[in-house]
């Protein structure tokens, strides 16, 4: 383990360190700017410019975005859509991943390829037929239309990752259980699933942010503000407060809070999820 003192003995490394400090700050500037903006009044910025010290710090922008901007509705909607999609996609993916990882049967490889190929698909390709399908099923402008599509589309990535994780579990573990008379579903639920928890935690974290951050499907499959998730809501907030940037960026910050919380507390899983997805 290198201590800080021994590290700073090399002049090159000191330079590297300060370059990194500068870059990291540069990277955060847009976020810092947003936070500062959100705490000022619009008049203050318009009349005195960006560089003036604010006369006072206010929280009223957040309240405006929350109440008049509708975030009090949009943000809960996002959870109502994200949580069921997440649970369902993990459940279905772990079922299909288990079949693909454990059993040799005709069509195994073809199905695996369908999932991997689908995961790479730009989902814009599916947009119009899916729009038609939700309309046909009476799911247009409901939570369930979005939940159904997210569940199905994210199965590609989740099945891919889970299947590759599950094939690494040594087969002997299952032999013993089978001799003890466990049926296939109990082996899946009581033996495979507990062993898969690290991978499940990683992709759950990642999928949460992906589904939560989706925008395109939200504007295509939902029309009324009543069912809109926060990404689509922000776009309508932008139209409503077109001149008032302090409210718009406050709304953006509020909308980002859930994913920022995930990032702060589950960063390790988030990073692991990204790495798992690219390990093949």
């Amino acid at each position: 383990m290198m201590t800080a003192r021994s590290f700073f003995r090399s002049p090159w490394k000191v330079v590297l360190f300060f370059v990194l400090v500068l870059l990291a700050l540069l990277w955060l500037i847009p976020i810092i700017t947003t936070v500062i903006t959100s705490l000022r009044t619009n008049d203050d910025i318009l009349s005195r410019g960006f560089w003036a010290l604010p006369e006072q710090l206010v929280f009223s922008n957040f309240r405006t975005a929350w109440e008049r901007g509708g975030l009090s509705k949009f943000l809960p909607n996002s959870f109502i859509i994200t949580i069921p999609s997440l649970v369902l996609t993990l459940l279905f993916s772990s079922l299909s991943a288990y079949a693909l990882a454990r059993f040799r049967f005709r069509g195994n490889r073809l199905i695996y390829f369908l999932y991997v190929g689908g995961m790479m698909l730009p989902f814009q390709v599916l947009l119009l037929p899916v729009f038609r399908l939700t309309d046909f099923l009476g799911l247009y402008d409901t939570y369930w239309g979005l939940i159904a599509f997210h569940t199905a589309f994210q199965m590609g990535f989740c099945t891919f990752v889970l299947r590759n994780y599950m094939v690494t579990v040594p087969i002997q573990i299952f032999e013993a259980a089978r001799i003890d008379g466990c049926n296939a579903f109990r082996i899946w639920w009581q033996i495979m699933m507990p062993l898969t928890i690290p991978a499940l935690a990683a992709i759950a974290t990642l999928e949460f942010t992906w589904i939560f951050n989706d925008y395109l499907l939200a504007i295509v499959l939902v029309r009324s503000e009543e069912h809109m998730p926060v990404t689509a809501g922000l776009a309508s907030l932008q139209g409503q407060f077109i001149m008032d940037w302090t409210v718009i960026v406050s709304g953006a910050l509020l909308a980002a809070i859930p994913t920022i919380i995930v990032f702060i507390f589950l960063q390790r899983y988030f990073i692991e999820g990204l790495t798992l997805g690219s390990s093949k």
Partner: protein, 293 residues
């Protein structure tokens, strides 16, 4: 790979059945349906009428389609160079334990968790012509001549939007390379040092070849992400001014949902699909090879 023959033929399908049906209905089916819709004049309301390849013929003469295609190409070329190189450099710099490395990594990761909509709004404000941070800084420094209408200048706007995507992408590439570097054989690195290789030679001839597989993945992901580009354009410019920042996905959305030319929009998405198919194919071949190895 250890796999067992199923005790009965039915067993795997008990697990696969329901998920696969859902997947076929919502993902694979619509994929084929897009092809069909692209051959029709569907307007979203009345029943689609079959018009063969007329949508495609019209696409080739549509200037907005050509602009969008070029913009996607710009996006791809930027994405496979700038974030890949910067992400790799950052990963190399942060691979050794530096004091404060957790802070550095977190700063570069941070944009990745924000939704593209949030990023688009934040940056629209940064780019704001009068009060945005960028022009304010230039004015403060007396560099009035450098101030621009970042999102209103036809020649700049696409790059201004791509810059935001790059800001978000670099952390992602860094994560992938950091993971790749963990698997680099340190014994080989040490051995080449002992043999007198300098840092550049070690990087070029020992580390880089071992990062080749991850580089293929990074580039494939970057290209697919570029083809998926929609949110930033939609939030920041809606493809304007004068369609100068339009990309295929936005063009498709506007044609289908604002102009009710759904068949025409479907034709755009088929083009998008065919372009991505090349890279999906490359990726699948790689997966197949590792499966057989």
């Amino acid at each position: 790979m250890a796999m067992e023959r199923a005790s009965t033929r039915l067993t795997p399908w008990l697990f696969l059945g329901l998920p696969l049906i859902i997947y076929l209905i919502w993902v694979i089916g619509p994929m084929f349906c897009t092809f069909y819709l692209s051959l029709t004049n569907w307007d979203g309301l009345s029943a689609p009428g079959f018009i063969r390849f007329r949508n495609y013929a019209r696409l080739l003469q549509d200037p907005v389609f050509i602009i969008s295609l070029k913009n996607n190409l710009r996006w791809i070329l930027t994405f496979i160079t700038v974030p890949v190189v910067s992400g790799l450099v950052l990963a190399m710099a942060l691979n050794k334990s530096l004091p404060g490395d957790r802070f550095f990594k977190a700063s570069f990761y941070a944009p990745m968790v924000l939704s593209l909509v949030v990023c688009g709004l934040i940056w629209s404000w940064m780019y704001h012509p009068e009060n945005g941070l960028i022009n304010s800084v230039f004015r403060k420094l007396g560099l009035e001549s450098l101030t621009r209408g970042w999102l209103s200048d036809q020649h700049l706007v696409m790059w201004a939007v791509i810059a935001v995507a790059v800001w978000r992408q670099i952390g992602y590439v860094m994560v992938l390379y950091l993971a790749g570097l963990k698997n680099v054989d340190s014994w080989l690195v040490d051995a080449s040092r002992v043999d007198g290789a300098n840092s550049w030679q070690v990087f070029r001839h020992v580390i880089m070849p071992q990062l080749a597989p991850i580089t293929v993945i990074v580039i494939t992901i970057s290209i697919i992400d570029s083809l998926r580009a929609f949110d930033l354009v939609s939030v920041m410019t809606r493809g304007g001014p004068y369609n100068s920042s339009s990309v295929l996905a936005n063009f498709m959305y506007i044609e289908a949902f604002n102009n009710y030319k759904m068949g025409y929009g479907a034709a755009v998405s088929v083009i998008l699909f065919l372009i991505s198919l090349i890279f999906i194919g490359i990726y699948l071949r790689r997966v197949l090879r590792t499966e057989e190895a």
